[in-house]
């Protein structure tokens, strides 16, 4: 693949591979901020599933959490890109990484289209539950895909 060949030697990657603390530090940012992003999505999903915040509408919960979801996603993705450039060739050939990227793209698109639409409208409890369950499943797949990068 041409793209990873181009990014293989790069200053950020060099730093990550040569400074002892650089890679774990980027990982820590990645973990804390994906927790923030997914945790806030889950608050809305619990409501969609009818498990918590029954007095609140999904829309009002989303209004309070969306900015934290976005900050969490942006930082987690930036930290993730930093990790990626440490060894682009390995990651692009890692099937779990490919699965994670697919799940991530689907999860982001789903979150800002279907999920957003259902959350902001007064949908039935059934529709809410299905949309919430799919969201939980998608975001969990992203995390699990990430774990298996190091295990396969």
């Amino acid at each position: 693949m041409a793209f990873p060949a181009l990014v293989q030697p790069n200053p950020i990657g060099d730093a990550l591979n040569h400074i002892e603390w650089a890679f774990p530090l980027a990982e820590c940012f990645h973990i804390v901020f994906f927790a923030m992003a997914i945790g806030t999505v889950m608050i809305v999903d619990l409501r969609l599933l009818g498990l918590a915040f029954q007095k609140q509408t999904p829309a009002s919960l989303a209004r309070d959490t969306w900015v934290y979801t976005l900050i969490g996603l942006v930082v987690a993705v930036l930290a993730g890109m930093t990790l990626f450039v440490s060894d682009p060739r390995m990651y692009t050939h890692n099937s779990s990484f490919r699965f994670k990227m697919t799940a991530l793209i689907v999860a982001i698109i789903y979150h800002y289209t279907v999920h957003h639409k259902v959350v902001s409208s007064n949908s039935s409890a059934g529709v809410n539950a299905v949309v919430g369950a799919i969201s939980v499943l998608l975001w969990s797949s992203v995390v699990v895909g990430g774990i298996f990068i190091g295990l396969i």
């Binding site: 992003a37 806030t40 609140q56």
Partner: protein, 178 residues
């Protein structure tokens, strides 16, 4: 019986051998552990931001604390169970790992935090909503909790980076054999 030999017996127990050697069991436990960090850790962060008066300001403290509490409890139990299973499979290595012990110390501090703030903050969130500004004790509880819950996954991650000094490791092993 030394702590090291206890660790060794934990590792050799039937359950831990099963977790370590059956295909997929360990990765699945690890996945559950990290998914819980994302889901419930994220909820802890948001509760703390509410107590600090930074996030979720449209909701009362009582709604946020009360609404998320049962889920955070379930998450904590699942996270700790999975964590103990993972540590148990390699107990003697964890015994030598300073990051692991730091993480255990942080978990003790989680208990201290609960004892300090349970009755004054978390059990009576509606009291906090009554005051015009959030009381210092609520902000202190949140700040302490934020520090703990950012440090916990960080030290959890660092456990994997510890490389024991091999000469010292073999010394410990010799000592135990004697």
């Amino acid at each position: 019986m030394s702590l090291y030999s206890i660790c060794d017996s934990i590792q050799s127990s039937g359950l831990m051998t099963h977790v370590r050697e059956t295909p997929w069991v360990y990765p699945i436990i690890m996945s559950i552990h990290v998914v819980c960090i994302a889901v419930f850790g994220g909820m802890i962060l948001m509760t703390d931001l509410r107590l600090l008066g930074v996030g979720l300001k449209d909701k009362t403290v009582a709604e946020v604390v009360g609404g998320l509490r049962p889920f955070k409890r379930i998450g904590f139990v699942v996270m700790v169970t999975c964590g103990l299973l993972m540590a148990g499979t390699e107990a003697p290595q964890y015994y030598r790992n300073p990051y692991f012990w730091t993480k255990m110390a942080l978990l003790v501090l989680v208990g201290v935090h609960a004892m300090m703030f349970k009755s004054t903050v978390y059990d009576h969130p509606e009291e906090l909503d009554k005051s015009p500004v959030l009381p210092t004790r609520a902000k202190a509880a949140a700040a302490f909790s934020l520090i703990l819950w950012v440090s916990l996954p960080v030290f959890g991650r660092l456990i994997a980076y510890y490389e024991p000094d091999e000469s010292k490791a073999s010394q410990t092993a010799t000592f135990v054999l004697k």
